[in-house]
Symmetry: C2
């Protein structure tokens, strides 16, 4: 995402009622945050989505691809293309669930866990930059409010 913050250029547009639209604010905040994270993760050759999958694979919950799709709000068809490169790089493995052989459980390898720890640090940095204007208490409040919308 090369998109500039491009704020100074059009300050007068803040007059618009769009500025009061929480949906619009969510889109802008998400774009800025996503852009910051994506930039940081480039150094590890990871996409934001791949980082999400890797983190879930590290959770110890051994999610199925179907569960990943639900949690990440993606179609199951997209999960395949998301996991393939991670598996090729040896970061995660697809383990057939012996209780139901249709399921493939996604689990991180040692290399995957190591990379996830590095990525996590970069993400935290990016998020801190994005929320630099907010106090730590405000960040906690935001997190709580977003969680209740998101789940």
């Amino acid at each position: 995402m090369t998109t500039t913050r491009a704020t100074a250029e059009a300050d007068r547009l803040l007059e618009s009622e769009l500025t009061d639209d929480p949906g619009f604010l969510l889109v802008r905040a998400r774009n800025i945050c996503q852009g910051a994270v994506a930039t940081k993760l480039e150094s590890l050759d990871l996409r934001v989505r791949q980082y999400s999958v890797l983190t879930l694979a590290c959770s110890g919950q051994a999610p199925t691809q179907r569960e990943l799709a639900g949690f990440l709000q993606l179609d199951p068809g997209q999960i395949v293309a998301l996991i393939d490169p991670l598996e090729e790089r040896g970061l995660v493995r697809r383990v057939v669930d012996e209780n139901d052989r249709r399921n493939k459980l996604i689990v991180a390898t040692a290399a995957g866990r190591a990379l996830q720890r590095k990525a996590r640090v970069l993400c935290d940095e990016a998020n801190a930059e994005t929320m630099a204007e907010l106090s730590l208490a405000e960040r906690d409040i935001l997190q709580d409010l977003l969680f209740r919308i998101a789940f």
Copy 2:
């Protein structure tokens, strides 16, 4: 966006540290909100982006296409394709800026203003649904926090 909330299916994944990542929460909240708004606006044959442009065109600020691009975090090249159908439908007009004939000012027509008012009502409904779990005071807080990240 057909994406389901798909929460019940993978509640145990909430254990993952991803749940504490404000970037991930922003993405999920934005997806849910965007989906609700998009569904509502379908009845007016409006995309979310088009609604944003239309609202800015109604602001009385007569933005240039360049200013719209900055405010909406889009490349100038995309603004053309965004405005063309609105102009064809007679909702906005491109007015050459006589002070600088390179600029085209985007202004809403009477029909555009009427449609924007309808769309605004639908958006408010969608946003209210998205934030149903939050008290009115909490919605104000969220709006403030998001604004400070977004601008």
